[in-house]
């Protein structure tokens, strides 16, 4: 299976017939050129079509040969043949333009010493500032840009996994016309005629469809295209958009504004269906940090989080009080909340949620309304209400109103211009486009990125329009030859953001320059370059476009310094949006339409792993367990326990979902804490042309989605389809309660309990002297590595897992193996539920290797393949391991992972380039596990010894620690009493997992402390 893929892939890489001649011409053309001038001369040549042709044929061929270790000799021949070819065939060459390293390593490239470059990853228009680790011009890992206010060192799962996206062997690798290979030159020619024709009609037939654009340069370009062709139209569509947010802002203030929050100032946070602690919510990385800072019971400034939500989210799991409420009822909650101010006195005139089913929660509901209101009142100015993107505009407006009433604006809530450069209603925008298409007004359609044929709302029938209204010129620019590419005559393979120039705004408006880390692997083009083409600058490179734009913004002599600094820092000074002061138009808003509140509600949500489907082919994300269900590779229908019991459904039962004529059959998954009379489905699955990982995984829910009710609607009809469907969860049994009593895996207490009994977490801790043997004298060593994980800070965002996967070359095993239980994650985030299944308390617990001082795994290994280092690490010696698996049996934490089969992909060349050269790629039959990133420890030990000093506290970070936006993971030297980790371990709520086994774990946990509202505690 795998082998097939690779073979077939290799053919894709080298299409066209082997043609010696054009190699000759190449040499002829670049005859006499020396190294230095070579690039320029090449660019001059780049125009000529046959050179393009030759490039196109030879480059991937050479590339494939070079990449395929088997025929490296072939590559060497090529090398010898021509300097040009060598330069072009090498996939890992520096981009042509000067890019500026982030100075943390020496500027000169030293083999083995990585360089770090600041750039930005953009999702939904919002930039995540990142640093990319590059080994000899091969980007290998993505980390947060600690200097950037939107990151502070953290990242999100999508940003980190995007590195795999760049090396994805299934990416589109050529320009194609009706599926046949074409060249850029060919494309230019094909475009010339029609474009000229459009000039005559002022581009009346030109339509450009983009995803959300926050890039000033690209926006500027598109506008200049519209200047050139006044009749042309720019449409924006993205399935996961923020229409409601902008609409809500318009409702409240009469203008679209971006809302930002300063959670560090918030004592009380009320989330109305806002999953603001998970990737995908603008600014989540920063919000997680600010939130976590305020969850430190020892600092005594703990905030309180109320979450009223329509599906179980990681944000809800962190809440002090959570109320599961159907999405439609949340608006009612918001109204009832607002009433607490409008009505004088504290009368609670309650509409009450519409559906009888939810009304079962009447008591909890009323309590929640009153106590939330009470808490908000008593924390005016230091509270905040956050509303989820998918809630209707009215709710956003209400939240704005309440925030105003509470005087939170300017303290915890801030308004700026929208980050979206073209803040139109995206569903309307797409609707208009389809109308024009059907009306035959469209002659040239440029789809710049995105996959609307797959993810457009069903009722618009975009795909159908694209297929059947014969638009003469349909151009698709994309990373994959996906569902949309299939319906366009022309497909231009897009350059990945790590391969191309660009710029993008973070949630606070700060612009980051996107600088490429590597020349396009398959010679793709960026949206900038394609737009430049339309704007009549065919030759303009992405670099010229972006730099050109910023030259205009920042004229003057010091531009080079300015440019250099911006690249170096990862953002452009002074681009952060100025805060706006806006005034409320009214406090009363017309309720959003509700169709039949009694009927079953269906929620459409972006997927925590594949987002809207654009990451479908990303194995890391596919195999990343969703925070609450620990589901991988699939998107079952989430349904509440009560409802499931009522309908006689069990997890994995197949059901038919029927909604206004559309029907989808999918398995269900019983999700504790999901509101009754409502189901949730995740978008982004059921792709037909995603690639080896994404195609066929999960179920396509877009057909059920209507453009008028994109996020939730009622009236879905659920019927048992009969039969079951195997789902792959990494955590089968998600409770700490066993029939023989509860297990203290996650220790937790309320703030008061903690104050009363600080040492509560340490009961069952076995005394150190509980051994016949004399313990090994670790205290005599210079270093003793240890880790402390603050369960209170951890928000279950899964960042650590992806970071670990990327840093340690961890294999993706596929759904079948996950079903059996053979996933390879070295670090897992366990989720536990406790109490009432309909509204449980939920906990997260990241579990890396505990590095036990009395490691049970070591004692039983017959060949000494896992033994202890003097610094207290539980070392795993891969090449000594014979694979008895005894160590895993004897590991009480089950953190060891075994290569039952050859899980690593040893074939695909791109993946070879992506791997971290400092970490062994494990083969079949050996055990593996978390090493505390020993490669990083060693690197820092070498550096410090060279500089003849000891490793400073904090300079050495494990991958998981580095990526953690909540700063929940602390690693360091426990022999140094002043190290941060030592101080944390000294805190009374620090405890060792299963410490009663006397394993003496080096990884310990800070117990979770909740801060419940006394009123609700009864």
């Amino acid at each position: 299976m795998e082998e097939q893929n690779n073979k077939q892939h290799r053919e894709e890489v080298c299409p066209g017939k082997k043609d010696k001649l054009d190699l000759q011409t190449a040499r002829a053309q670049i005859a006499g050129t020396k190294g230095p001038e070579y690039w320029r001369s090449l660019e001059e040549l780049a125009g000529s079509a046959e050179f393009q042709e030759m490039m196109h044929r030879e480059f991937p061929k050479g590339a494939s040969e070079w990449l395929d270790s088997v025929s490296r000799r072939g590559f060497l021949k090529l090398m010898g043949a021509s300097l040009a070819m060598a330069g072009m065939t090498a996939c890992t060459k520096q981009p042509l333009e000067p890019i500026v390293p982030y100075v943390r390593q020496p500027e000169a490239v030293i083999p083995g010493v990585p360089m770090f470059y600041a750039t930005a990853f953009t999702l939904g228009g919002y930039a995540s500032p990142i640093l990319v680790e590059s080994h000899l011009y091969r980007p290998t890992k993505i980390e947060g840009n600690a200097q950037h206010p939107a990151s502070l060192g953290g990242t999100d799962v999508f940003a980190q996994a995007s590195i795999l996206g760049m090396y994805d062997p299934d990416r589109s690798q050529t320009i194609a016309y009706l599926g046949d290979v074409r060249t850029w030159g060919g494309f230019l020619e094909a475009l010339r005629g029609p474009l000229n024709a459009q000039k005559a009609v002022q581009g009346a037939g030109i339509r450009i469809l983009t995803r959300t654009v926050s890039s000033p340069a690209l926006a500027d370009q598109l506008r200049s295209v519209l200047k050139l062709y006044p009749q042309a139209k720019w449409h924006v569509y993205e399935p996961v958009n923020r229409d409601n947010v902008l609409e809500g802002a318009k409702m409240a203030f009469g203008q679209p504004v971006e809302t930002q929050y300063k959670l560090e100032n918030a004592d009380v946070i009320v989330s109305l269906d806002a999953d603001f602690l998970y990737a995908g919510f603008p600014g989540s990385t920063r919000y997680i940090r600010d939130f976590a800072q305020r969850r430190n019971p020892d600092a005594g400034n703990m905030n309180r989080l109320y979450v009223i939500e329509s599906t179980m989210s990681s944000t809800g799991a962190k809440s002090d009080h959570r109320l599961p409420l159907r999405a439609v009822d949340i608006e009612i909650f918001a109204r009832d909340l607002q009433r607490q101010w409008q009505s004088k006195g504290d009368v609670i005139a309650v509409e009450g949620p519409g559906s009888q089913a939810t009304w079962a929660l009447k008591h909890e509901y009323l309590e929640m309304v009153s106590s939330v209101a009470g808490d908000l009142k008593s924390h005016s100015g230091s509270s905040v209400i956050i509303v989820g993107d998918h809630q209707p505009p009215a709710v956003h407006a209400l939240a704005h109103a309440i925030n105003q009433t509470l005087g939170n604006v300017g303290k915890t809530v801030f308004y700026t211009d929208p980050v979206d450069a073209n803040p139109v209603d995206q569903f309307d925008s797409l609707k208009d486009l389809v109308t024009d298409m059907r009306a035959g007004k469209v002659d040239m359609l440029f789809i710049l990125g995105g996959n609307p044929a797959y993810d457009a709302p069903a009722d618009l029938g975009f795909a159908d329009a694209l297929k059947n209204t014969n638009i003469p010129m349909r151009v698709h620019l994309g990373l994959y030859q996906d569902e949309t590419a299939e319906l366009c005559q022309w497909h231009v393979n897009e350059a990945h953001y790590l391969e191309s120039w660009g710029d993008s705004r973070a949630y606070d408006g700060t612009v980051s320059i996107v600088q490429p880390l590597i020349a396009p692997l398959y010679g793709g083009k960026s949206a900038y370059e394609l737009t430049a083409l339309l704007a009549g600058q065919a030759e303009a490179t992405g670099h010229e476009v972006v730099q050109g734009y910023w030259k205009k913004q920042h004229p003057g002599a010091d531009f080079d310094a300015f440019w250099r600094k911006s690249l170096h820092d990862g953002w452009i000074d002074g681009t952060t949006f100025a805060l706006k002061s806006v005034s409320l138009k009214s406090a009363a808003f017309t309720p959003s339409p509700v169709n039949d509140a009694k009927a079953i509600e269906i929620n459409f949500r972006r997927d925590p792993c594949v987002y809207d489907g654009c990451f479908s082919n990303n194995g890391w994300l596919q195999e990343l367990p969703k925070p609450m269900s620990k589901m991988t590779w699939d998107n079952p229908v989430l349904i509440g326990p009560a409802m499931a019991t009522r309908m006689g459904l069990k997890s994995e039962d197949l059901v038919h979902l029927e909604l206004n004529g559309k029907k989808v059959t999918a398995p269900i998954w019983i999700q504790a804490g999901h509101p009754d009379n409502s189901v949730t489905v995740f978008l982004g699955y059921g792709r037909k042309r995603a690639g080896r990982a994404g195609t066929g995984a999960g179920f396509d829910m877009y057909p059920l989605r209507g453009s008028s009710t994109p996020w939730f609607t009622s009236g879905v009809n659920i019927t048992k389809a009969g039969g079951t469907y195997k789902l792959a969860t990494t955590q089968g049994y998600q409770t700490m309660d066993t029939p023989e009593g509860s297990r203290p895996q996650v220790r937790s207490a309320s703030l008061d309990e903690y104050r009363k009994e600080p040492g509560f977490a340490r009961e069952e801790q076995s005394p150190a002297e509980l051994t016949l043997y004399k313990p090994y004298p670790y205290d005599k060593e210079l270093y003793a590595w240890g880790m402390a994980i603050d369960l209170n800070a951890c928000v279950g965002c899964n960042n650590c897992m992806v970071a670990c996967q990327s840093e340690n070359n961890i294999a993706v095993v596929g759904k079948e193996q996950v079903v059996i239980g053979r996933h390879m994650h070295w670090l897992r985030v366990d989720a536990y539920y406790q109490g009432d299944r309909d509204n449980p308390k939920a906990y997260f617990q990241p579990v890396p290797c505990m590095q036990c001082e009395n490691a049970p795994c070591e004692v039983v290994c017959p060949v000494g393949a896992t033994v202890h280092s003097t610094e207290g690490l539980n070392d795993m010696v891969y090449n000594r391991c014979v694979g008895t698996r005894y160590c895993s049996n004897n590991c009480p934490y089950k953190v060891r992972r075994f290569n039952f089969l050859l899980f690593q992909d040893w074939e695909t060349p791109q993946l070879k380039m992506m791997r971290n050269p400092d970490v062994t790629v494990r083969s079949r039959g050996v055990m593996e596990k978390c090493t505390y990133c020993i490669q990083r420890i060693t690197q820092h030990r070498i550096d410090s010894e060279r500089e003849n000093r000891t490793i400073q506290d904090g300079e050495l970070q494990t991958a998981c620690q580095q990526s953690c936006p909540a700063d929940a993971i602390t690693f360091g030297n426990i022999n140094d009493p002043n190290s941060r980790v030592s101080k944390l371990k000294a805190i009374p709520r620090n405890y060792g997992l299963l410490a009663d086994l006397n394993t003496r774990p080096r990884t310990t946990y800070l117990a979770e402390i909740r801060n419940p509202n006394p009123e609700l505690e009864s």
Binding site: P739, E740, R743, I820, D830, V867, Y886, N889, N899, L901
Partner: protein, 456 residues
């Protein structure tokens, strides 16, 4: 072990029917090998078991190509059928040496007519068992790293690991059993040498007989050595399953980490061992008309041994249960609950039925003396003992400390093919054995005859 003695003393069923002389005993046993034509039944039986052996080799071959992933093993259940079968076979392999050595020391002369093939059975069982640890590792081609041999890597086995103890225990056991068996064979090989009429047989048996000529001096040293060997084998046989039980007892997994394991494993081993002896003895004595040599008394005594060891095993279960409750340890308590109510509960109940309840019918004399009944009961016990190992290995592992890491174990077709294949291999070897070697110790049978008595 002397438990069966007293009853044996009471009812004196003979260990060999009257009317036999040195000559007739010799001829009757040696003729099976030398003169008697090979029956079609033998060919059929050998053919089938040989095919099963081939199936096993195929399964193992595929295992080497793809890796242990073709089995049902996973995290957290890192050990599955392979280890279950290993322990099961090793257990069965205990009867032989026990009968030969311990009963010899206890002067249980009735052993003489069953010890020979019991020992053979031991050898084949141990080799079947030995196969599994080798093939179950992730990189079988490196399994030899478990042996302490000088190497360029300058690294050695890790002697705190029970697996290394296993290597020593099992290989020692195999070696000693082989020697014991061969030494016992030498005088009979001499008999075959002298009885056989065809040249090839004379040469082969002659070589194997090492030129044995029954000299008084030789007999004297021979008996001393044999007795000492028995003396060494006795603690050995007890130690082997003790060491195997250490694989579990030394670990910290709930359901493994318990001190009752060594005695209860040894008892279980003898239990299953005798069951296997009966399952083989009963058909053999039937087909080869050896009822005079393997008499009711043998069946009875074996049955009694099973009854006794079965009760010890039952006691073991009882103690496990008691400790689960008495220790107050939440994990042990849950283990108990999980065995009775968890997903594998039916297996556990079946185990109790097979190993505790069914064998109690052996209290009935009538069944103790009925070959058919004994054959069936022995079968039940063998199944039960296999289930016991399955419960210990899989059910303990599948739900241990962290609820997040619980899992399920589903054996694959490759697991079954390998397991059934080893049974085929075992039986095929037995078929060959009864065909080419005297399955009953001739010279020891002679000593049972009244004429063998001499007075000073």
């Amino acid at each position: 072990m002397d438990e069966p003695r007293q009853p044996a003393a009471i009812e004196r069923a003979p260990v060999i029917e009257p009317g036999y002389t040195f000559g007739t005993v010799t001829d009757k046993i040696s003729s099976i090998v030398l003169t008697r034509p090979t029956s079609n039944g033998w060919f059929l039986g050998f053919g089938i078991t040989f095919l099963l052996t081939m199936m096993m080799l195929f399964a193992v071959g595929y295992l080497f190509v793809r890796g242990v992933g073709i089995w049902g093993v996973t995290i957290p259940i890192g050990w599955g059928f392979a280890i279950v079968n290993f322990v099961w076979w090793i257990g069965i392999g205990h009867a032989g040496t026990l009968i030969s050595a311990i009963l010899l020391l206890l002067r249980q002369s009735w052993r003489n007519s069953i010890n020979r093939f019991a020992e053979a059975m031991t050898l084949f069982a141990v080799s079947a068992a030995g196969l599994f640890p080798l093939i179950h590792v992730g990189r079988p081609w490196l399994a030899y790293w478990l042996f302490p041999y000088p190497n360029t890597m300058k690294v050695w086995p890790q002697f705190r690991s029970p697996l290394v103890w296993d290597v020593f225990a099992v290989s020692t056991y195999a070696t000693i059993s082989l020697l014991f068996w061969f030494i016992g064979l030498v005088p009979d090989l001499a008999t075959l040498r002298d009885r056989s009429t065809n040249r090839a047989a004379q040469i082969i048996y002659g070589m194997l007989a090492l030129g044995w000529r029954g000299s008084a001096r030789h007999w004297h040293r021979y008996e001393t050595a044999y007795l000492l060997l028995a003396g060494l084998a006795t603690p050995l046989v007890l130690s082997v399953h003790t060491v195997v039980s250490f694989d579990f007892a030394v670990a910290i997994v709930p359901g493994w980490h318990t001190t009752i394991f060594p005695p209860y494993f040894v008892a279980g081993a003898i239990y299953s061992g005798f069951a296997m002896v009966l399952m083989l003895a009963i058909p053999i004595r039937k087909f080869y008309g050896l009822e005079d040599f393997i008499t009711e008394r043998h069946l009875q005594n074996s049955a009694k041994v099973m009854l006794a060891t079965g009760l010890i095993v039952a006691y073991g279960y009882a103690i496990e249960g008691f400790m689960g409750w008495y220790s107050g340890n939440r994990y042990d308590a849950f283990l108990l609950w999980n065995r009775l109510h968890g997903p594998y509960a039916p297996w556990y109940l079946a185990l109790l039925a097979c190993n505790i309840f069914v064998p109690q019918v052996l209290w009935i004399r009538k069944l103790r003396t009925s070959p058919t009944a004994l054959f069936l009961i022995s079968g039940v016990i063998l199944v039960g003992m296999w289930l016991e190992r399955f419960i210990i290995v899989v059910v303990s592992l599948h739900r241990d400390f962290l609820t997040s890491s619980w899992g399920m174990y589903y054996p694959t077709r490759w697991d079954w093919m390998t397991y059934i294949g080893t049974i085929g291999m075992f039986l095929a070897a037995m078929f060959l054995f009864v065909r080419i070697l005297p399955m009953i110790s001739i010279f020891e049978m002679r000593t049972l005859l009244p004429e063998a008595e001499v007075k000073e």
